[in-house]
Symmetry: C2
Subunit: 132 residues, 2 copies
DNA sequence: CTTTTTGCAAACCCTTTGCAAGACA
DNA sequence: TGTCTTGCAAAGGGTTTGCAAAAAG
């Protein structure tokens, strides 16, 4: 653990693990603030940022949307439903050799990649089929 | 062409092709506005959006940064320099079969994926080596 | 003449920041 | 005690929107 062990930090981390499914910082804030009204938005943003910098949690940067936080810290991919905005894990193997290929193709020194899928989640697909 | 053929649209599209290297909407706006002061920011944002919806140009959604627009419309990947923010093309083959794998793994109907690399561009690498 | 597009400013979402007060080690 | 963290409100970046006027077809 890098920073100081404050009550807020514990509360925020616990709440993230309770919410489990890739909440945004603001969703974490709403939940935390409901139970602990004195905890402010900035603290939640700052703490989630620190936790992900430390590697204790994951941060999923979503194209065109708020960042989401992941209680699972290891590298994996995500898919976002273009209808309801829901984000889920995509447990396929991490791409092998693609960073090297990109380095060769671009001349950059590659440090990481992120792969995001877009699609329609089972619920929304169901709903569309029923409605149509 | 889907919409109406306005002067603004032509000017904006031309400016994008002239700028060539993945400008943000605001960079396009600055250039357009400098030459045509009557053209407003909203028009540039709206027009770039329409052009990319039509498939006439590409939109590159950057993790944690402004969208960038690409005069090349075909699918390809991008790398962003974590130091200077520059964005370049990564001309590696489009990932094959990965959408199907993701669909199987997640249950989503996958419509697309985006792969973004992060790294250090040759210029910044050079600069770091010289400075150090 | 009908419908789309424009230009402006204000609104919006998500996030960060300055600062003084408070909590940790 | 010295430093990190908090809470607040305000600012910030990027983008969208409501509306009346103008332009396209």
């Amino acid at each position: 653990m890098t920073g100081r062990n404050t009550v807020q930090r514990t509360i925020i981390e616990d709440e993230l693990r309770r919410l489990a499914n890739h909440p945004t910082a603001d969703e974490v804030y709403e939940a935390v603030h409901a139970a602990h009204p004195s905890i402010g938005r900035a603290t939640v943003y700052r703490t989630l940022g620190r936790l992900s910098d430390e590697g204790a949690i994951g941060r999923v940067r979503i194209n065109n949307g708020a960042d989401r936080f992941d209680h699972q810290a290891f590298a994996h991919y995500h898919v976002r439903c273009t209808i309801c905005g829901r984000v889920d894990d995509v447990m396929i193997p991490v791409l092998d050799g693609v960073d090297e290929a990109a380095a060769r193709a671009s001349g950059y020194q590659i440090t990481s990649h992120s792969l995001q899928f877009d699609g329609v989640c089972p619920m929304c697909r169901e709903r569309a089929a029923t409605t149509a």
